[in-house]
C-alpha cells in the first residue's frame, strides 16, 4: 500500500480541453507554497503527456498519476 499524500489544494478541471488544464494548473500551483501539494483532476486525454511535459519544463514534480475511467488525477508537488 502506498502512503497517503497530504493534498493542500484540489483543482477540478473536468471537461476542459487543451490548453486550459495546463494553463490553470500553472496558475493554481502559484497559489500554494513551495513544498505543498496540488491535486488536479482532468478529463483531457492529452493531459497524460502534457502534464509530464509541463512538469519537466516548469520544474514541479508529479508525485502520482491515477487513471480511472475517463478521469485522470495528478498529484503535483510545487518545487519552484
Amino acid at each position: 500500500m502506498s502512503e497517503e499524500i497530504k493534498v493542500d489544494k484540489i483543482m477540478d478541471l473536468k471537461g476542459l480541453p487543451c490548453p486550459q488544464p495546463v494553463i490553470k494548473v500553472s496558475k493554481g500551483i502559484k497559489e500554494i507554497a513551495i513544498g505543498q501539494v496540488l491535486e488536479a483532476i482532468t478529463t483531457d486525454p492529452g493531459a497524460l503527456s502534457d502534464f509530464p511535459a509541463w512538469s519537466r519544463t516548469s520544474g514541479n514534480e508529479i508525485l502520482k498519476t491515477d487513471q480511472e475511467g475517463g478521469l485522470i488525477r495528478f498529484i503535483i508537488k510545487r518545487v519552484k
Binding site: 487543451c18 486550459q20 494553463i23 500553472s26 496558475k27 509541463w54 519544463t57 516548469s58 520544474g59
Partner: protein, 198 residues
C-alpha cells in the same frame, strides 16, 4: 654522452614549446568564452500574418500554453493579422480613401474573422464556434483575456498600420500592447528558442 645530453635538451626544449603553445591556445579560448553572449531565452515568438479564425486560435493556444510552461510569449501581428486586433466598438476618423476602403474591406475585430477552410459562407464558422462552445474549447475572446492575464506580449506592425491606414485608437485595450517595427520583433525573435510564422 654529449649526444645523449643534446637529445635531452632538445626534448625539453620541445616540451617548453608545447606548453607555450597550449598556454597561448588556452588564452585564446578564454577570450572566446568571455565573448560568448547568453544564448536563446525560453521565449516563443510568433508572427501572426493570417486573419483566419483557426490560425489565430492556434497562435493564441501556443502563446498562452508557452506561458503556462514557464516561457515568455511574444505575438507580432502583421499584414492580414493586424485588423484582427481592431475593436469593433471603436471608431477612428481622419482616414483617406484607401484607409477607409481597407477599414471597410478587412474584418473589424476578432469576432468578424472566418475559418480558412469550410467557411461555407459563414455557416462553417458559426458551426465551429458552437461546436467549440459545446466542447468547452476556449473562444477567441477567452483566449485573449487569458493571454492578457498571463502577460503574453502583443506587438502590432507599424508598417501595416500606415499601409492600410489603421489608427491606434481603433485597436483593442490590451495591457501588453505595443506598436513596433520589424527590428523590435527580431530583437525578441533572435533570442527566442521557438519562432513561428502563422
Amino acid at each position: 654522452m654529449s649526444e645523449v645530453l643534446g637529445a635531452k635538451a632538445e626534448e625539453s626544449h620541445r616540451g617548453i614549446t608545447v606548453v607555450d603553445d597550449l598556454a597561448r591556445q588556452m588564452g585564446e579560448l578564454k577570450k572566446q568564452v568571455e565573448n560568448i553572449k547568453p544564448g536563446a531565452d525560453d521565449r516563443v515568438s510568433i508572427i501572426v500574418f493570417s486573419s483566419d479564425l483557426d490560425k489565430i486560435l492556434a497562435a493564441f493556444i501556443i502563446a498562452t500554453g508557452a506561458v503556462a510552461m514557464g516561457m515568455e510569449a511574444v505575438m507580432f501581428f502583421t499584414f492580414w493579422g493586424t485588423p484582427v486586433l481592431r475593436d469593433p466598438k471603436k471608431k477612428a476618423g481622419g482616414k483617406d480613401l484607401m484607409g477607409k476602403m481597407f477599414g471597410f474591406m478587412l474584418p473589424k475585430g476578432r469576432n468578424a474573422i472566418k475559418l480558412s477552410k469550410m467557411n461555407m459562407a459563414g455557416m462553417g464558422t458559426s458551426m465551429m464556434k458552437s461546436l467549440m462552445k459545446k466542447k468547452n474549447v476556449a473562444s477567441l475572446d477567452e483566449m485573449l483575456d487569458m493571454a492578457a492575464e498571463l502577460g503574453v506580449k502583443i506587438y502590432i506592425c507599424e508598417m501595416t498600420m500606415s499601409l492600410m491606414g489603421f489608427k491606434k485608437e481603433e485597436f483593442i485595450d490590451y495591457p501588453n500592447l505595443e506598436y513596433v517595427g520589424v527590428a523590435t520583433f527580431l530583437e525578441q525573435a533572435k533570442n527566442s528558442k521557438v519562432q513561428l510564422f502563422i
